[in-house]
Symmetry: C2
Subunit: 284 residues, 2 copies
């Protein structure tokens, strides 16, 4: 008998994770109170079951997959309901929050009697035919969710406390999404100065993997830029305000804010980025 | 008869470029006034010829290869001497300066009657058996130094004005050295949080080219970190103070300043970076 699992919320990642668990025979609960018709449709398509807060708190495992800014509030809300129950779930916090935030979440969850696993999802939402994304888990309770590895998730145990998985998520995103940010900033600046073609040629000849990567990563980033703003600020927080590199990630937050506004508005810079990336892909 | 060429200054890049030109039959002048014994030895080993400012100003082509902070002062000094001569050289500014700086240098050089070529050297100093680095050149006078392509330099013409080659240099370094900076910052933060091994494993599995690149780029950066501080500030200036990404490069300047101080001092963070890179190379 597979464990009962709840996934909150049924966003792009949450619903795709739920669909994979459903494929593996799980019943996956979620909360649809006050959600849009589009979200309800997505949750239904993923085979998720609408449930009350009390039912969700009664699941064996609760996966928290929300925008980073909502992770703490969700933990508080869950803890309030769990407090009243005798059965205590394991909450797996999969959110891109920094180490300090996950420690605060741990305090809240543990005080309700539930256990907490720190998790980092690295990769795109599950798709049929792929094994990813990777679910890195850390903390004392990580072994308690090993069953997820038999239910279609690519589970990877980090030997480390609560905070280690979040640190992995922050540092991986800091390199990976940071590189996309550097590419966007420099493509725009080179385009303005008439050096975009020369930049592309030089990357193709002396840094071909970065050239290929930007060809895909730059256009993929544009519709997500608005979400990356908060994620970059989480990374700045992960470094700590006194660290000299924190300024780099505050700069990325402002860059993605600027790009998100351009995508919503004129789209001039977005068009320059897309044009550069298309030529990278054509040259592959 | 090859053109007479002067290279200022005989640093690591300048002397290696000079050595390649000398191999191809050129006489290469340089200024050794007030230079250290080590510099004089390096210039002699490269086959360079000590010359007065007046002799240098009389060369056909003058390559300016100095730290970015000295580029403007060198242009002023050369222009003062050239002003008095009837023969006017082509000055090739190879420095990592931003577009605004190269335009100021153009004003200074053109007012002396000399021509200016904007050049970007991308790659390590010439070594026997290699064809690099690439010398990208832009500006109206770029065609006037095409001969350098027959004298052992990998010359690449950019169709663009003064500023295009500098923009290429800034944008390429902004991606390339920026990536190394992101790697250093995130390796240190992951190490502090006990997630360095997990970060390395995840990079090896989902971003193998970045993993391989950091294995080499991180230790190579440490002894140069002090030089990258000014270069990052040039890139911030290239973006312009009002651009949201300028903050990213001011952050990199502070990070490299911090790392350079660590290299000179305790070396604690340098050791963590080196340890990570060694494990990347071992896993290759």
């Amino acid at each position: 008998m597979p464990p009962s699992i709840a996934v909150i919320a049924p966003g792009a990642m949450g619903s795709a994770v739920a669909a994979r668990l459903v494929e593996h025979g799980c019943k996956v609960l979620t909360s649809l109170d006050g959600r849009s018709a589009a979200t309800r449709t997505r949750a239904a398509a993923a085979g998720m079951t609408a449930a009350s807060d009390a039912e969700i708190a009664g699941a064996d495992i609760i996966l928290s997959i929300v925008p980073p800014g909502e992770a703490l509030a969700l933990a508080e809300q869950l803890a309030t309901v769990i407090n009243r129950n005798t059965k205590k779930p394991v909450i797996v916090d999969c959110n891109a929050v920094n180490v300090e935030t996950i420690r605060r979440i741990a305090d809240i969850v543990l005080s309700s009697g539930a256990r907490l696993v720190d998790a980092a999802i690295i990769g795109l939402p599950p798709k049929p035919g792929t094994s990813g994304p990777a679910f890195h888990v850390s903390g004392e309770a990580a072994a308690d969710v090993a069953v997820l590895g038999q239910l279609g998730l690519d589970l990877r145990l980090i030997e480390g406390p609560i905070g280690a998985a979040s640190a992995l998520k922050m540092s991986y995103a800091g390199i990976n999404k940071g590189l996309t940010g550097l590419g966007a900033a420099m493509v725009l600046a080179a385009t303005r100065a008439g050096a975009a073609d020369a930049l592309r040629d030089e990357l193709a000849s002396s840094a071909p993997h970065i050239h290929a990567r930007l060809g895909n990563a730059l256009p993929d980033m544009l519709p997500k830029a608005y979400r990356w703003v908060a994620e970059m600020r989480e990374i700045a927080g992960f470094l700590g305000p006194e660290h000299p590199a924190a300024m780099i990630y505050e700069g990325f937050a402002r860059l993605f804010e600027h790009l998100a506004a351009d995508v919503q508005g004129q789209g001039t810079e977005a068009a320059q980025i897309v044009a550069f990336a298309e030529r990278c892909r054509a040259k592959k």
